[in-house]
Subunit: 434 residues, 2 copies
Amino acid sequence: MTDVHVGVIGLGNVGSGALEILAGNADQIALKLGFRLRVAAVCSRSAASKTLPASLAGVARTADWREVVTNPRVDVVAELVGGTSVAREIIDAAIANGKSVVTANKELMALCGAEIWDRAIRANINLAMEASVAGGIPIHAVLREGISGDRIVAIAGILNGTSNYILTEMESRGASFEAVLAEAQSLGYAEADPSADVDGHDARSKLAILAALAFGERITPGDIFVEGIRRITPADFEYAHQLAHTIRLVCAAAQTDRGLILSVRPALIPKSTILAGVRGAYNAVWVKGHYGADTFYYGRGAGPRPTGVAVVSDLMRVAREIRSGSPERVSPFAHERLGIYQPVPITLQHRPYYLRFRVEDRPGIIAELAGILASRQISLEAVLQLPCDTKDDLPFVITVEPTSEQAIREAVDQMSRLSFLREPPLALPMEPPL
Amino acid sequence: MTDVHVGVIGLGNVGSGALEILAGNADQIALKLGFRLRVAAVCSRSAASKTLPASLAGVARTADWREVVTNPRVDVVAELVGGTSVAREIIDAAIANGKSVVTANKELMALCGAEIWDRAIRANINLAMEASVAGGIPIHAVLREGISGDRIVAIAGILNGTSNYILTEMESRGASFEAVLAEAQSLGYAEADPSADVDGHDARSKLAILAALAFGERITPGDIFVEGIRRITPADFEYAHQLAHTIRLVCAAAQTDRGLILSVRPALIPKSTILAGVRGAYNAVWVKGHYGADTFYYGRGAGPRPTGVAVVSDLMRVAREIRSGSPERVSPFAHERLGIYQPVPITLQHRPYYLRFRVEDRPGIIAELAGILASRQISLEAVLQLPCDTKDDLPFVITVEPTSEQAIREAVDQMSRLSFLREPPLALPMEPPL
């Protein structure tokens, strides 16, 4: 059988990892496929600056991606440059030239996945994007094939390794967000500008793609409520532990009576759930199906080799489809169209909440806060206060029974105007056991 | 596009679950596929005894499976009868009639998977068996597609829900094996004859299939060392906890310098590992790849609906392949052929061990046992003894540093001849953190 030829564009972490595997694992890949997957061209910004694995020494190098997408020997293009501008040009040009495409690009697929997929179907080529979400976890294969017969009703994930690393370090060592972030930056685990990670935007792009795959609707980052982890303190972990919970940046999408509710936000999750055991830079996805109940997937969220495995596995699948003449037929972004998964605002969500306050000590504080909750029909569940050295900066916690996000927001707004509060209350939802 | 027609043979738990999903989720399945998956014929032992879902009321019913595999309208046959005799006839006849096959049959695929797969390839039809291992967990899709680019170096799993339920109940309540087994039997969680579950044979079939998929060799149950959980006592959990471990029936396959070592046996695993958190009737598979490092998969091991999802997802994949004219080309049982994954005897494995003794109290016991270990160059790590009421039936534990299974077996044999032992020592390997 004739071999399938790959053009790789982008030689950063992911591109280097993919090439290492394509070279080092070539024999096993050929045995699994029944033909060879050959690298025909490699494009990097400065054509020859990075050394390729020895067995790829003869491969054509270029700094111009157009040479790859127009190369007549190339059957499938791996777009591994990231971002939304050049990457989009590359993918559009590859499709226009009849090449199949494998991409690791979460921002682009979150924003324009449905559009790109429609274009691929019209052009009779294949498209794959396993590496765009949770690098080491083959969650796309799971949703697309493994449990495709199920009707997904909810997903919950830990999709940003940096923020999970920060939270689990804060939890285990009692260190502040700022201290752990600074450490993570010096170790290279966090960017100089950490906003994409710690403010939830990276995780939001990933959740948009996962939710689109799971629910078959066009879901974009704008449909997803997002809140970062900057306000979490070591004291919050102490209170959460008292409640037999921990705190994680949870990416959640759930079908409710009111519609599909999507959020990326720090939340309390029960310590007994398997999601609570996800530590450090690991990612995880929990899926609840109407028929298959709950399944759970866990692995490295990033790294050249885990993400490289995702890219190479996609290349193998697309290569099989090219060889069998089986082009893309149905977009994973739009299989549903049953109208039952329309995104609705987070304000419709009902949850128990954890409210943490920092106040100047004076009499009547609890009475005043409880009065605001009562006036909105929010039932108080518990009041917690840990022993504290500094009498005048007391963090304490009130938990409330399930209520709407809308009601909690209104209560928090009203509370924020109280003179004894040192900062607005921190309100975190308490997620049910998964 | 024309629809794809399914013939379902077997209306037990799995067959009923699959039909419920094919009926209830038909619209979403059609949107995902771009065509309909229609049930054309159903075979059960007594043709019309079980009621089908309402939307399938018009489907042809029969008690003769030959009518299904020769039905010209049927494109794909779901073999859901189990066992190795009739099931083999059904699959062979379906393939001979040019039908693709989806099966949930672990015993048959563990014993003859490679042979059946070769037959399917020669006949140009498609074969799928997701439901044969860990019902609710799409581990086949993961190994076949999701991480196919990786080179698997080890897998470890909890693949028998009944024995995991028994062990975790013993652990949490301090109850004996016999008591929990009797309870599980009365609740319908365990069979009247529990041997397949508690002696490890069910798990061994599943590990044979998983290892074949992961390593691409012909691996049959006979290649796998098996030991059941009958000898585990509540005291073993207490000692394991002292060592920050727990005990699970671990299915393991690992590439070592000496070859591929395969076993199903109770083992100590560190409490901190994610596998230790798998409780009750859940299943889980941990996979270590040379490139992608560790990933972990978790879900229901059985049940009509989780297993039904696996069958229906397989039917969807096979239906896509039928529609695109893409027959099976490479057997998942034989992609490797690099000779690096040959099974070797468990006696070559090196591990730290946990040795538990029940003795008649007398002076010099430890000295005698330690002497036997020393004579075989086995280094003692710790001696543990919990407080005990009955002075004359003292369980106590010795842990030893990594040594070969061969050396441990010889030491245990020699110890078993000592007059003060009430039963042969229980030797459990201590698995490294996953």
